[in-house]
Symmetry: C2
Subunit: 228 residues, 2 copies
DNA sequence: TAGATTGTTAATCGATTAACAATC
DNA sequence: TAGATTGTTAATCGATTAACAATC
C-alpha cells in the first residue's frame, strides 16, 4: 500500500535488505526471492520483511515471491541512491582518512568531493585523490560543488562548530562520526555513528553473559556438593 | 527500582548519558545535575532520562537532582566499563588501522591487545604499537591474552569466516564493522556498525527533505501565479 | 513552609509478529 | 486444482511521555 509514511524502523532496515539482495544477485542465479529467504539472509522475521516491503508498494507475487532485480531497483530508488549526493568530509585524522577511501560509500553512489581540516600539517596534503582544504573554504566549496551531505570526523570538541558551519553553508544532512552530540536546527537531519558507543553496549551484554555463566557455574557446584 | 531487567533502548542510551556527564564534570563546576539539564545535553526527553536512570536504582535526590560523580560511577559500572575487556581486531585495512589507534576505545577502558590479518603485505607490520599477526594464530592468542571481544574490520566476504573463528576460539562478543551480516550461535552477542548504512538512511531523509522543499516551492509559485 | 525535582503511574504511541484470507 | 506465498489484519509487546504524588 503506497503513501503511508514509511516508519523509521523500516527505513533503517532497507539498506540491510538491499545488501542481502545484491549479495543474492551476485552469488545465486535465482530471479525471485521469498520473504522467508530474504528474512533469513537479513537476519529478521519473515512477517517483518513482508510488512516492510508493503510500505514501498505491492511488489511481490503471491505464490512466487519478489522479483530480485525489480525489488533492488525499488529499494534503491526509495533510499534516494539513484541520485547523486555530493558529500564533504571535515576532520582528516585516522578515521577521516579511512572514510575518505571507504569503498562502501562509492559503491552506494556516494561521492566525497571535498576534504577539510584546520591543521597546517594536514591542509594541502592528499588523501584518496583529493587535496585537503582549509575549513574556512567550506561555505564557498559547498556552493560550488552543490554539496548536500556533510560528514564530521573531528575530535569531539570541534564537532559542534563544524556542524554550525555546515548549517551556515546550507547543508541539510549531516553524518556525525565525532563522539559528541551536535545540536542543529529542526530542518537539518543528523545521524550519528559512534564507534565507542557500540563497544560500550557490547560490554554491557558481555558483562551480563559472564554474570549468567558465573551463576550457572555456582549452581552446578552447589548441586555437586549436595550430591557429594 | 533495581532488578527489573534494563530495556535495550535504555542500555543504548547509557553511553550517551555517560558522555554528557563526563563533559559536564570537565567543563562546569556543578556537583549535581537535573534530569532536565542532562536531557538537554543528551538530546532526549527529561522524562526518559528519569525513567532510564530509575532502572539503575534511585540515585537522584528529589528537589536537588543527581550527584554527577556518583551517577558517573553507577553508569560506568552498569556498562561493565570498570572491568578490563581485552579485544582482538581482525582486518588491518584503512578502517582497521583507524580503529586500532582510535582514542575513543582506550578512553573507555577498552584495550585492543592483538591485531590480525591474512595478507602477507600486512602481517608482520606495526600499527598502534602492535605487530599484526596471521589469522591462524587467533585461537592461540585469544586463550593466552584472555580476549573476550572480537572486532571485525575485514571486507564483507571474509566477515563470516572470521566470526566463526572467533566463536571457535570461545569469544562471546563480536563487534562487526564489515558491511555484511554474520550468523553466530545464540549465546554470542554481535553488534554491527555499518558506516554505509547510516549514510543510506541519511540519503532517504535528504531525499524526503528535498521533495518537501520542492513541493513548497511549487505551491509558492502557484500562489504567486494565482495572485499575479 | 515553599519551591524544586525525582520516581512512578498510566495513557499513548509505534513496532513486532502470528495468523490467515487473497491470489498467483 | 493444490501448493505456495504474499499482503493485511489484529493481537501483543515494548518504548515514550505527560502528569503528578512523593519528598528533598
Amino acid at each position: 500500500m503506497r503513501n503511508r509514511p514509511i516508519p523509521e524502523a523500516t527505513v533503517a532496515r532497507l539498506p540491510i535488505y538491499l545488501r542481502s539482495l545484491l549479495d543474492m544477485a551476485e552469488t545465486t542465479g535465482e530471479l525471485t526471492v521469498s520473504s522467508e529467504e530474504l528474512a533469513r539472509r537479513a537476519g529478521v522475521n519473515a512477517a517483518k520483511v513482508r510488512k516492510d516491503l508493503s510500505y514501498l508498494g505491492s511488489y511481490g507475487t503471491r505464490g512466487v515471491g519478489y522479483d530480485v532485480e525489480y525489488l533492488l531497483y525499488q529499494i534503491t530508488r526509495e533510499l534516494g541512491l539513484t541520485q547523486d549526493w555530493p558529500a564533504a568530509l571535515v576532520g582528516i585524522g585516522n578515521l577521516g582518512r579511512a572514510l575518505a577511501s571507504y569503498k562502501g560509500f562509492s559503491e552506494r553512489g556516494f561521492r566525497i568531493s571535498a576534504l577539510f581540516d584546520v591543521s597546517d600539517d594536514v591542509v594541502g596534503t592528499e588523501t584518496g585523490g583529493l587535496t585537503v582544504r582549509h575549513l574556512d573554504e567550506l561555505k564557498e566549496v559547498v556552493a560550488e560543488d552543490n554539496i548536500c551531505i556533510g560528514i564530521i570526523s573531528t575530535p569531539p570538541n570541534s564537532a559542534q562548530e563544524v556542524a554550525e558551519r555546515f548549517v551556515d553553508a546550507g547543508v541539510k544532512s549531516i553524518l556525525n562520526f565525532a563522539p559528541s552530540v551536535v545540536n542543529v536546527p529542526p530542518d537539518v537531519n543528523v545521524r550519528k555513528v559512534d564507534l565507542s558507543i557500540e563497544l560500550q553496549i557490547l560490554s554491557f551484554y558481555q558483562q551480563r553473559t559472564q554474570a549468567i555463566a558465573t551463576a550457572r557455574e555456582a549452581n552446578r557446584r552447589l548441586g555437586a556438593q549436595g550430591q557429594g
